[in-house]
Structure formats: structure tokens, C-alpha cells
């Protein structure tokens, strides 16, 4: 199994490891719920080095990305990030990605489980274009710092980073360390994601977690595992590949139309015709949020009913640590939404009443 450059750090902090897409990753250190609350109230540090980082350069890099990403990227300025999908011809999602615009190249951050697939997909569509694709996943590391106190912590060594706008990034040189710092994340909190050379990982983490001697609270940022990352993103209503997104699901059903530029023509993107049709006709299914009665959680695959009809299935669910009640995301038949009938979810052969609610479940104050 693959280990990230932070493996030793995780062990020293008492991590419990799980296999995540072939990577030995910390699921938690002390408690998923405690780490979740740590992120909502102060700050958490996540190792996300398992995510794929693909550098795209060359004269036709822009064209390859316009062809393979659903969202227009030609108008991106240097220092900007954008969320996009990669689709197949039918409009099914191959992956959801973050694209970074550098001065002379682009960077794609892809899901760990889809890295090989996306690499193959990009290579398959290069054709005669002059494009160089470099997989930098192993030569770099990546951490996410998320939470309301993260920017104060960073302000101690940078004035530039706290002034970054959402979805923009800067390159920060610190001693011998060059880091790409973006104001992005996957928790619903303010914060940054940092890409750095693997060899610098040990030094960087000490720097990022260094305590402020003047601080009232002794510890503002603590390591948090993938378990908390999952419950945080659920509260924030963010999709996870393999749950809300897969090759049989289109971005419009998933509520991600904002990341699809249906009017692309230079060149068009793979899946554009199919998605245009879905946008015109309206999607057959829609991703919704459900708030469940009681304390029990529904898991992926659980049946959703409106009245007595089975209308869809749960994609993710947890007992929300912040809100205190169970939340689930589910796909249901789009034309069943406008009804007064009670929604319910089947848990252990019993129906539990549920209220349809807008996503996200949680927004930071």
C-alpha cells in the first residue's frame, strides 16, 4: 500500500489507518466527532496527499482541458482555481476535479480513486496536440487546513494568503520551501489547501502547526482524519465521488450545473451534447438533502419513499455532529418533489420519517 510523506506524523499522533484507494490513510486520531468539532470551532489539518496532482503543459494544454473539462477554463487568470467535472460522451461523471491556472501550465487535482482513469482519459484525447502530462502525485504532498481560526494562524507568516479570494491561489516561498496555497477546501469552512514538495513535508507540517506563544487558546489547529473529512463534507452538501457522483450520474442531476459550460465551442467538451439535452429536458433524478427523525442514520443504498412509492436511494448519510440529527443525501425522481406527502427512508426494514431540505445542511456563520 502507498504511504504519504506524512505517514510518520500520523503514527506519532496515534492515527488509525484505513486503505483508501490503495493509500494507507488516517481515518481518525482520537475521535471522528471530536475532530469534526475541532474543524468547525478552530482548525483541522488533513493529509490529502493521496489525491492525484497532474501537471498539464505545452502549447495545446488549454485545448486539451477545454475538451475534457465541462467548465470553461480559457478565461481563467493566473492564480485562479476552478471546480469542474470530467465526463464521458453520455454525460456521466468520470471525476470531479479542481483546476489551477499557473503562468505556463495547469494543474489538475483529481480523486485518488480516479487518478489512473483520468490520466488514461487525458492521454486518449491528446491526439496531435502538443501537450505534456506529468503525474506529480508522488513527488508532491498536499494538506488541507480548514476551520475558522486557520487564517489567523497563517497570518503569522503571510500577509498575502489571508487576502486571497475564494478559489484563488498564490505561490509562497519560505526558506527552501515552495508551496502552492489556495483558498479552497472540502469542509464548508474557510481555509486553504497547500501543495508542496514531498521532501519538504516534515518541515512544512511543523511550521504549519507551530503554536503561537501569545495565543489564549493553546492549540488552534489539530490533525483530523478522513472520517471527519467525510462528515464535514456531508454537512456542507458537497458530493463525494463513488457516492453522489459516478459514471452513470450526470452533473445536472447532482446540482452541479454551475460547473458545466453548455455553450463551449473552442473546442466543445466531451459529453456536451448529452448534457445539453438533459438540461433542456430536465434531469430524471435530483440530488436532495433529507433530515431524518430520531437518531438512526441511513447508509448508501437505503430506499427513499414519498408516500408509499419508492422514489430513490440514499447516497451518503451520517448523524450530523454539528446539527445533532441524522442527515442524508439521496437521488429521487425529479417529478416527485412537488408533493405534500411525507418522505421516509428505510432503515433496518423500518420506515423513518424525513423532511426534504435544501443543501447544504450547514453553512458557516
Amino acid at each position: 500500500m502507498q504511504r504519504t510523506p506524512f505517514y510518520k506524523f500520523h503514527s506519532q499522533h496515534g492515527a488509525r489507518f484505513v486503505d483508501f484507494a490503495g493509500w494507507e490513510m488516517p481515518i481518525m486520531y482520537r475521535s471522528i466527532i471530536e475532530e469534526h468539532r475541532q474543524v468547525r470551532t478552530a482548525g483541522g489539518l488533513f493529509d490529502v496527499s493521496h489525491m492525484g496532482r497532474l501537471k498539464i503543459s505545452g502549447r495545446d494544454a488549454r485545448r486539451l482541458l477545454e475538451r475534457t473539462l465541462t467548465r470553461r477554463i480559457s478565461d481563467m487568470k493566473q492564480g485562479a482555481c476552478r471546480y469542474s467535472l470530467v465526463c464521458n460522451e453520455q454525460g456521466g461523471v468520470l471525476d470531479d476535479v479542481l483546476v489551477y491556472r499557473f503562468e505556463y501550465h495547469w494543474l489538475l487535482v483529481v480523486n485518488a480513486s480516479n487518478r489512473e482513469k483520468i490520466l488514461a482519459h487525458l492521454h486518449a484525447h491528446v491526439g496531435d496536440w502538443a501537450v505534456k502530462i506529468e503525474d506529480q502525485t508522488l513527488s508532491t504532498a498536499m494538506v488541507a487546513l480548514q476551520g475558522p481560526r486557520v487564517m489567523d494562524q497563517i497570518a503569522r507568516f503571510s500577509t498575502e494568503v489571508p487576502n486571497l479570494r475564494r478559489y484563488s491561489f498564490c505561490i509562497k516561498k519560505l526558506l527552501a520551501l515552495e508551496m502552492t496555497i489556495s483558498r479552497t477546501g472540502y469542509t464548508g469552512e474557510d481555509g486553504v489547501e497547500v501543495i508542496l514538495p514531498s521532501l519538504m513535508a516534515g518541515m512544512a507540517i511543523k511550521l504549519l502547526l507551530r503554536e503561537d506563544p501569545d495565543s489564549q487558546n493553546s492549540v488552534s489547529i489539530q490533525p483530523a482524519g478522513l472520517g471527519a473529512r467525510d462528515t464535514l463534507r456531508m454537512e456542507a452538501g458537497m458530493p463525494l465521488y463513488g457516492h453522489e457522483l459516478d459514471e452513470a450520474t450526470d452533473p445536472i442531476s447532482a446540482g452541479l450545473l454551475f460547473a458545466v459550460s453548455l455553450d463551449k465551442d473552442d473546442p466543445t467538451f466531451i459529453g456536451q451534447e448529452a448534457l445539453k439535452k438533459i438540461a433542456q429536458d430536465g434531469p430524471a433524478r435530483r440530488l436532495i438533502g433529507l433530515k431524518l427523525d430520531g437518531r438512526r442514520t441511513a447508509r448508501q443504498g437505503a430506499s427513499v419513499y414519498i408516500g408509499d412509492s419508492h422514489v430513490g436511494n440514499v447516497t451518503s448519510g451520517c448523524l450530523s455532529p454539528t446539527l445533532g440529527f441524522p442527515i442524508v443525501m439521496a437521488y429521487i425522481e425529479a417529478d416527485r418533489l412537488d408533493t405534500d406527502a411525507t418522505a421516509s427512508v428505510e432503515i433496518s426494514s423500518k420506515r423513518v420519517d424525513a423532511q426534504v431540505t435544501a443543501l447544504p445542511f450547514y453553512k458557516r456563520p
Binding site: 481515518i27 481518525m28 475521535s31 437518531r295 438512526r296 442514520t297 448523524l319 455532529p321 433496518s348
Partner: protein
């Protein structure tokens, strides 16, 4: 951490401790750690007869939902209301305060067929 030797264990991680003519059943620390933070305990049968191999309820954590099994024939006489009200007690103290049910057994010899603590720890580390 070694599991306590005063009780026997099932492959499915439930410990069975004989005391005062009853058998107290709970989950091993190994199982509890694997589940992560426990958020809900559902003891479907709060009273009445139960058979070895039968599920007596479900346990939910942040990550997963699992069945819990009884390893002995008998009658459920008590359920730990404390852990139903506050499931995190199972995380804090799985072998003592975090017990789940008490069964009045019909045949305590069934305990002999279960794993010793040493064998259980050997299989789960």
C-alpha cells in the same frame, strides 16, 4: 490492550461474561475501535427468549451500522439503558460500563465453545 480474561468471546466480537447466574454481553474494545464513534444503539429485543447466533440489535457509528449477536440460548432480562441514552459510553468503557444486555442462560456450557481472551486477541490485533 489485552482483553479481560474473566469472559469469553465470539468471532463477531461480542464478549460474554458469566456472573451471578447471568451472562452479561458487550462489545470488545477492538470492535468498538473499528466502529469509531458510536452514535446509536438499538436493542430490538429488550426482553424474552433469545437463541445462540441470533442478533439482539444493531449498533451504529459515524462510519457504519453492524448487527450484534448473542452467543448463548436464554432469556434477555436486562438492557443497559445507560448506553442507549448515551452510546459514547461504549467507546469510553466497552468492557465495564458499556455492557449491552444480560441474559439468563439455559445452558452455560455454550460458553465453553467460545474463544478465550488470549485466542480472541491473537485473532484481532
Amino acid at each position: 490492550m489485552a482483553s479481560p480474561h474473566d469472559r469469553k468471546y465470539l468471532q463477531t466480537h461480542e464478549w460474554h461474561k458469566p456472573e451471578d447466574g447471568l451472562v452479561t454481553i458487550g462489545l470488545s474494545k477492538f470492535a468498538v475501535d473499528e466502529l469509531t464513534d458510536i452514535t446509536y444503539v438499538d436493542v430490538a429485543k429488550t426482553q424474552g427468549p433469545i437463541k445462540a447466533g441470533e442478533s439482539f440489535g444493531e449498533i451504529e457509528s459515524v462510519k457504519a451500522t453492524s448487527d450484534m449477536y448473542c452467543g448463548i440460548d436464554g432469556v434477555i432480562v436486562e438492557v443497559n439503558q445507560l448506553v442507549i441514552d448515551d452510546p459514547s459510553i461504549i467507546n469510553q468503557d466497552p468492557f465495564e460500563r458499556g455492557w449491552l444486555i444480560k441474559v439468563e442462560p439455559t445452558d452455560t456450557a455454550q460458553l465453553d465453545a467460545m474463544m478465550t481472551a488470549a485466542k480472541y486477541d491473537q485473532e484481532n490485533h
